[in-house]
Symmetry: C2
Subunit: 276 residues, 2 copies
């Protein structure tokens, strides 16, 4: 970690009675910073606002957030900013205080040290055995309850495997541990629904919008495991990695990359990370 | 809060890179303290150890935990101790560090300010609309991912309602927001299974063991909502409250209390909270 701010002030710790620590009572955003600029910042702030509303945390002023993130991005130059909003301090018990005073954390990290070939040539991916539970009230949100992802990420140590795909209890494929999934079959670009489990990623939104603008056939729908092997391309997206193509899923090789190239070019054109 | 220790040392904050804050990556125990003595301490330490093993957090020495809690109970006199074990500090990302150094938090709180009549005469209870998702890998554990309970507890403000019952997505009744449920029908004392959702409470274990010892017919099983209205008694248990009888569930009054009285007497006889 390069630096941390709590409510705008440099800090190395948070109060021991914060509800994020006790219950995971809060939300976060992971924002890529390139050339001192936060990528897709307005989308991050919008998603955070939706989560804050869903958890009935007092709203944060978007201007304050955007200004603070922009200033921190200037300081960071290249890397990742993590913005966390918690419900703040409280006495013991699940009941939220009537007049909660949310706490805002902003952490600056070095660029992720991932092999450059993962972006340029694609990644190896596995299936996880840890399933995602259904929780429509929390699905789509980037909240601080992340034990399912931690359990899934602990299933492999092989450093050549970049990600693991997770299914829900109904055998639908939902996402990777920290990325959204895109499946190309025929002329369709599909991505799993995230209304019962999963996170509605900012890069997922970017990809969907670019694909629609590009005239592609786009679907947010249920995705079965069997479709993965029939697909011509699989891709993974998140704000830090951009868009990866899947090169191998448990022994099945994917050589097509036309859709991935087309979308990567579009992402780069609107200011996102480029594989070149 | 009366006091807080981090790894045995007085503290008011925790490092901002702790994984409990970022992901809810840890476990907790809520321990009642009466007459400077922690109640059912060995059961709390055992359950914590099971959770630590399930999350693959490096184990804590039970003697260290028990000694620290006992010393804190002496200092507290009357109240509640909350013991939290986190996976400790780490860099960004779900992947757990290979050599995690867990962090141990111990917080001392004043006695809960609940109406004494709730213990002596019973409580009013409602049904929550927030459902519990199924997650067999985490069910039973008292982990730090508690947004479902927070959403459920936010459903009512009426201070005369003590608790809300939660169902899972399959319409089974699982527990209250912060208590386990017991249902008396005929000669059977039943409590919902907690292998897909819910917490395996320490007081739940105490009640089950006392009931078996007392020769009662005991079942951990699926409980349907319709059974609640057919029951002769409903009871709620947790370590802080002991055993409450439900006086009213959404308009249905419960007047029987024979089983509740019998179990409360047994709990008091082994050192727990008594309604007298």
């Amino acid at each position: 970690m390069r630096f941390a701010l709590v409510d705008g002030t440099p800090a190395t710790s948070i109060p021991i009675d914060d509800r994020a620590l006790h219950y995971g009572d809060g939300l976060f955003e992971t924002i890529a910073v390139r050339a001192a600029r936060p990528e897709f910042l307005s989308y991050h702030v919008e998603r955070l606002a939706r989560g804050i509303e869903a958890l009935a945390i007092p709203p944060q002023h978007p201007d304050v957030l955007e200004r603070e993130v922009a200033t921190a991005a200037t300081k960071l130059g290249e890397g990742t900013l993590k913005l966390i909003v918690t419900r703040g301090s409280a006495e013991r018990g699940y009941r939220a205080p009537q007049h909660a005073r949310p706490r805002r954390l902003l952490l600056g990290y070095e660029p992720a040290s991932l092999p450059p070939s993962w972006l340029s040539e694609g990644v190896r991916v596995r299936m996880c055995s840890t399933r995602l539970g259904h929780q429509p009230r929390l699905a789509g949100l980037k909240h601080l309850n992340r034990l399912e992802q931690i359990l899934a990420r602990s299933e492999w140590q092989d450093p050549t495997i970049a990600e693991g795909l997770m299914m829900d209890e109904a055998d639908n494929v939902i996402c990777a541990t920290s990325a959204n999934l895109f499946v190309v079959r025929g002329r369709e670009l599909a991505t799993p629904r995230v209304d019962r489990a999963g996170v509605a990623g900012v890069m997922r939104r970017v990809v969907l919008e670019l694909a629609v603008r590009d005239g592609l056939t786009v679907a947010e729908r249920t995705v079965q495991r069997s479709e993965l092997l029939d697909a011509s391309e699989l891709m993974l997206s998140n704000s830090v990695i951009g868009l990866w193509r899947v090169r191998e899923l448990e022994g099945r090789m994917f050589s097509d990359e036309a859709m991935w190239r087309r979308l990567s070019t579009a992402i780069a054109a609107c200011g996102g990370r480029s594989p070149e």
